[in-house]
């Protein structure tokens, strides 16, 4: 059975439908990338999958998370799924963290709620969670979010997301706001954690190079529609749709600036 099965998902906002008839699924432990440009509907899809759509938006179709229907589900039901089944890491960790609460308490909260940990056991679980995201310094737990760097904050957000041992992690542009060396380190961390825990990963990004590092399969969205889906090598080597080809060609052109163009310039100089 799939850990996530999205079928004919449509999201409506008034008369507009920013996500239309989207279908894809993830097997347990599978890593899938959702790629598209601004306005493609990739972030709304991730919110619809976790039942976090703003009130003004309505979803229809079907989203099965570990067999439970998300579309139309009550908040109480969804709360039971968020944590043990699915967790989400957003682009901007500052908005995802409570600015008034020490980082350690924010990590403790899901450990207490979902794993029932208390007292000394809880304290050592918080330390272990921070250690796992490569933040072993005990001062981190006592810090407030604004006292940390962008990369440290995203590691904390990942620690919170993973605390309840979700079967599926949704990462929505998790490194877009980070510097390139920090991005590299956070991607390595995610790769390791996903592999160690056998978690499924839905990785959402506009960056083909980042996505192809993280996942096995890619779903391409444009204007709210799935235009193409396939393995990373299929999509990159033999894109079937003109839009995908344009996306791949642009990414390749930028990538090529880092080598060929420079060689030409050297040759011409």
């Amino acid at each position: 059975m799939s850990i996530l099965d999205v079928s004919s998902l449509t999201v409506r906002s008034g008369s507009a439908a920013p996500v239309r008839d989207v279908s894809f699924s993830l097997a347990p432990g599978e890593r899938v990338g959702l790629i598209g440009e601004s306005g493609s509907g990739k972030s709304l899809t991730s919110l619809a999958v976790t039942g976090l759509l703003p009130d003004a938006l309505r979803s229809s179709g079907s989203v099965l998370l570990d067999g439970h229907q998300v579309v139309g589900a009550a908040d109480a039901e969804l709360r039971g799924l968020r944590g043990p089944v699915v967790q989400i890491v957003f682009q901007e960790p500052l908005t995802a963290l409570d600015p008034l609460m020490r980082v350690g308490r924010q990590i403790a909260e899901p450990l207490r709620r979902h794993l029932g940990l208390r007292g000394a056991e809880l304290k050592s679980a918080v330390a272990a969670a921070l250690d796992e995201v490569a933040l072993p310094d005990p001062r981190i737990a006592r810090a407030y979010p604004h006292e940390l760097s962008g990369g440290q904050r995203q590691r904390v957000a990942i620690a919170i997301a993973l605390a309840a041992r979700p079967q599926l992690l949704i990462a929505d542009e998790p490194t877009t706001a980070l510097d390139v060396t920090v991005q590299d380190a956070v991607l390595s961390l995610l790769e390791r954690l996903v592999a160690e825990r056998g978690m499924a990963l839905l990785f959402i990004s506009h960056d083909l190079a980042v996505v192809s590092r993280m996942v096995d399969r890619i779903v391409v969205l444009r204007d709210g529609l799935v235009v193409e889906a396939g393995t990373v090598s299929q999509v990159l080597q033999e894109p079937a749709e003109p839009y995908t080809r344009m996306l791949v060609d642009s990414a390749r052109a930028l990538d090529a600036f880092l080598d060929q163009k420079l060689d030409e310039r050297e040759a011409g100089a």
């Binding site: 601004s38 962008g150 510097d179 060396t181 083909l208 090598s233 990414a251 930028l254 880092l258």
Partner: protein, 257 residues
């Protein structure tokens, strides 16, 4: 003689030093990339080059002369500032916030012509139409408002505003970072064409090394407010001598072959 040059420039916000002993230069027709991570001092260097701040230590030179030196007469300083403002134009990162939403595009693009007193009336309209054409936007763009345009189109409008006064150099702060990949390639091509056709010089700040590689002949790498490496872009990216530059280049996500 360089068009713009920093000599041993230092800068601080209050007591927090953000630049130390930065020396770099941009020759006429050349393109210079400023690379580094958050807090490296890239945007502060750009502020100095734009004349928005004066270095605390060292010098900022324009056409080989110190910009706004205290010793020269007020009228000489005004004349130099006028030449400087006409020569140097900025392009900002975020095309959504850098365009006034309440103004029509022709008013936005014409702003440098008014503030520099370069053209008015029919002459200004002609220059605005010319600028729109040079960035590949249709003539009817002039009568519309920013919200009617996509991110890439807005960045073209921002570039039209920057070139309308026929400057000698564009100083661009992350001009493609907010854009989608297909649009990013198009805007980089536009900058390249404007450079070739108008002989424009370019200083571009970016954390995106592929954008720097595409647009800049020379590159300066900043870390913690200091220049750790500078030289031909090909040398800096392919044979970096500094360990920080090496780490930066190695961290760039690449497409599988």
């Amino acid at each position: 003689m360089s068009l713009l040059e920093l000599r041993g420039a230092g800068f601080a916000y209050g007591s927090r030093r953000v630049l130390d002993d930065v020396s770099l230069h941009l020759d006429e027709g050349d393109s210079l990339g400023l690379v580094g991570e958050s807090g490296a001092g890239k945007s502060t260097v750009l502020r100095l080059l734009l004349g928005l701040s004066a270095p605390r230590d060292g010098q900022m030179l324009f056409d080989g002369e110190p910009l706004n030196p205290g010793s020269s007469s007020l009228s000489a300083r005004r004349m130099q500032m006028r030449r400087f403002r006409a020569a140097v134009q900025p392009v900002f990162q975020d095309p959504y916030s850098s365009l006034d939403p309440r103004q029509r595009i022709d008013r936005i693009i014409g702003e440098p012509l008014r503030s520099l007193g370069l053209a008015s009336g029919a002459d200004a309209q002609h220059r605005i139409a010319e600028a729109l054409e040079s960035v590949g936007l249709p003539a009817d763009t002039a009568r519309r408002y920013p919200h009617e345009f996509s991110g890439g189109q807005r960045q073209r409008i921002a570039i039209a505003r920057a070139v309308v006064s026929r400057p000698r150099v564009l100083l661009a702060d992350e001009p493609v970072s907010a854009l989608d990949v297909t649009t990013r390639v198009q805007v980089l091509e536009l900058l390249d064409r404007l450079r070739r056709e108008n002989g424009l010089s370019l200083v571009m700040v970016s954390h995106d090394l592929s954008a720097i590689a595409s647009a800049c002949d020379r590159t300066v790498v900043l870390q913690h407010g200091r220049v750790v490496e500078q030289g031909a872009t090909s040398a800096v990216l392919h044979a970096p001598s500094d360990p920080y530059t090496r780490a930066l280049v190695a961290a760039v996500p690449r497409l599988p072959r």
